[in-house]
């Protein structure tokens, strides 16, 4: 998972054609539809790569 649009696992079904209503929140706080620490870590990795400091992310 390099970008938020990439699926964290096969449980994520968001596509531009069939988009998930929780997608935006899921990007930073996800996964929303399932629990999986690996999937959470994948999102965190994207954030950690570009965040300037601890105040950077706004939920």
């Amino acid at each position: 998972m390099e970008k938020f649009i990439d699926h964290c696992c096969s449980k994520c079904t968001h596509t531009k054609e069939e988009s998930c209503k929780d997608f935006v929140v899921c990007c930073v706080e996800g996964p929303i539809c399932h629990e999986d620490e690996t999937c959470t870590a994948k999102r965190k990795k994207i954030i950690d790569k570009v965040k300037l400091n601890e105040k950077f992310v706004i939920s």
């Binding site: 938020f4 531009k16 988009s19 209503k21 935006v24 570009v50 300037l52 950077f56 706004i58």
Partner: protein
């Protein structure tokens, strides 16, 4: 993971002062040392302080380096990135700080600013939608999707958001009109045709945070039931257009534009229409005509675009900054925070472009209600060269001047209107005591006259007649009745011109007559321009008592009009002098004086 993030200002202002060359030199130095992978380099949005560009801000260290040159990159890499030591000589220095300032919080330019609309500018990579989302982006939109559409209009009304493009019309009310207008086809249009001389607020927002505009437009589209949107952006903003295109592509890829957005029964597509630069196309009906492929000319209103706009359909047309405010209001808890800032009649913040004779040129975002004095002296750092403040032109060619006596005027829609100016889109052109107010009025009216589309007679002919009179006055052929004629023509145009631009174009003349009538009278009666701007109405004379004969003026005079031996007082040959002002700028002893034509020196420069 990166060790540090280097945010290089990649906005037009810094690019024109050489930030790309600085970035290239930085990359070269990092490559030479083989350490480029450790650092993230972003050509981002504008931190606002154009005067001291090019700028690099380093995170997480929070260090603001400015006035950078490519040669500085070797030292910055060596000392800061490798050695962990701050390079003091590259920090901000100025008469307003005792010691070099390290970060935004210690630089006076930023002290009275409040970043709402610009909260992402210079912080995120504008070409990365992920970073916009990390900063809370598109949350306001997802919240809006769960709301009743009319409730969104109501919330925007409660926020007191007024159009930031000039008119100051309540945004929520405009949305409500379109929402209630019959019909299934509706449009949302963003006016990014920023045409005022000296104004670049919208360009900076578009370049620094393009997704904020898309999100504001999406919320509007959902609220009124539109399925198509246009961003009308002047072609002179290539970087803004490029970043908008990227933002639109990314939003489409993420399912935030297109069909059944986020699973809702909501389709919205967005297009960019590039304008050819006609000033009149900033007027809403002319802009819509231009999108339709017609000549950009205004039409009479009503019907207003909210009811019958683009292709005759209900259309909400707001400017860039207005749309950028919307996500701030519509995010969770946003309304409560939003209304805390500003005045009763003007909520929120306003982005201003500071230009002219001010020390800190650049972009600032300040709470509505801040005084002119605070903007000029606290944010702007005062007048360049320590000269006296004379006036500030607010609102561009459609606005008016605010004189020194009104320095404590609060900047909000109503106060500015009472003072004879307008908020406009936010351009503030500052003038010092060397600015001739008649010449200023002549310049701005000349601009609007050239840009007049010619459709209505009052604007087409009226501005031409006014300009002829102003030209005569500045050339020493003014008549005593000219001021009454200007006044009468100005009010006729204001009352009868077809569009807002025509109705407001006499403002610079009216406001300068209102506050600087004595200067007009001096031009007309004494044939004298004390500011030394109207070339036929003054002479330069050398103060022989103070002239040291340094020959600096002789060297710069392009027509050899200055005579005199070294270390002896010099003299200007009036028949040769073209009044270019080169000697005035060069003289270190301040002994070039502005005098009435054919008289002894009596006014100091």
């Amino acid at each position: 993971m990166y060790e540090k993030h280097l945010m290089i200002c990649g906005a037009t202002g810094c690019l024109s002062s050489g930030s790309q060359k600085v970035a290239d030199a930085l990359i070269e130095e990092l490559d030479k040392r083989g350490i480029r992978d450790k650092y993230r380099l972003v050509m981002g949005g504008c931190p606002g302080f154009c005067e001291v560009g090019p700028i690099i801000v380093i995170y997480p260290d929070e260090v603001f380096y400015c006035r950078l040159e490519p040669k500085d990159m070797i030292e910055m890499v060596e000392k800061h990135l490798v050695g962990g030591e701050i390079v003091e000589k590259l920090l901000y220095k100025g008469p307003d700080v005792e010691a070099p300032a390290r970060f935004y919080d210690t630089i006076p330019f930023y002290a009275k600013q409040r970043f709402n609309v610009l909260h992402n500018s210079g912080i995120i990579d504008p070409e990365d939608i992920d970073q916009y989302i990390m900063r809370g982006g598109y949350r306001a939109f997802t919240r809006s999707l769960e709301m009743d559409r009319l409730a969104i209009c109501e919330e925007v009304k409660k926020a007191g958001l007024r159009g930031r493009g000039g008119g100051g019309f309540p945004t929520g009310m405009k949305w409500e009109f379109s929402h209630k207008a019959p019909g299934t086809k509706k449009y949302v249009v963003c006016n990014a045709d920023e045409g005022d001389p000296g104004a670049f607020m919208d360009r900076s927002i578009l370049e620094g945070d393009p997704h904020a505009i898309l999100e504001g437009m999406l919320i509007c589209a959902w609220a009124i039931g539109a399925d198509e949107g246009y961003i009308y952006c002047r072609a002179e903003y290539p970087l803004a257009i490029a970043r908008l295109k990227i933002a639109i592509e990314q939003a489409e890829e993420y399912g935030l534009l297109g069909k059944n957005i986020l699973g809702y029964d909501f389709n919205f597509k967005m297009k960019i229409k590039e304008g050819a630069g006609a000033f009149v196309c900033g007027e809403e009906t002319a802009l819509l005509a231009s999108i339709e492929g017609k000549r950009g000319m205004p039409r009479p209103r009503p019907p207003f675009p909210a009811i019958a706009g683009l292709f005759g359909k209900p259309t909400v047309l707001n400017n860039v900054e207005t749309f950028a405010n919307v996500p701030l209001i519509m995010k969770k808890g946003g309304l409560e925070e939003y209304v805390k800032v500003g005045t009763d009649g003007s909520k929120g913040t306003k982005v201003f472009a500071l230009a002219g004779k001010i020390r800190n040129t650049g972009l600032c975002e300040v709470p509505m209600g801040i005084t002119v004095r605070e903007i000029i002296y606290d944010v702007g750092g005062g007048i360049k060269g320590g000269r006296d403040f004379k006036a500030v032109q607010a609102g561009g060619p459609s606005g008016g001047c605010i004189p020194k006596d009104l320095l404590d005027l609060p900047i909000d829609y109503d106060s500015l209107t009472k003072a004879g100016a307008i908020m406009g889109s936010g351009g503030l052109v500052v003038m010092d005591d060397r600015t001739c107010m008649v010449d200023l009025a002549h310049y701005f009216l000349g601009f609007t006259q050239k840009e007049s589309c010619g459709k209505c007679t009052p604007c087409r002919e009226g501005t031409k007649r006014m300009l002829e009179i102003l030209s005569r006055i500045t050339e020493g052929e003014g008549k005593t009745e000219d001021l009454d004629t200007l006044d009468s023509l100005a009010f006729s145009i204001k009352d009868s011109a077809l569009c807002g631009l025509g109705q407001t174009c006499p403002n610079p003349v009216l406001s300068t007559i209102r506050y600087f009538r004595d200067e007009y009278e001096e031009h007309i009666n004494d044939k004298f321009c004390r500011a030394g701007a109207c070339k036929k109405l003054f002479n330069y004379v050398i103060d022989t008592e103070n002239c040291t004969g340094c020959r600096a003026c002789v060297r710069v005079c392009p027509v050899d009009a200055i005579k005199g031996e070294k270390k002896e007082p010099h003299e200007i040959i009036q028949d040769l002098c073209t009044r270019c002002g080169s000697c005035l700028e060069k003289c270190r002893q301040d002994c070039i004086m502005i005098t009435r034509v054919g008289r002894e020196a009596d006014v100091s420069n």
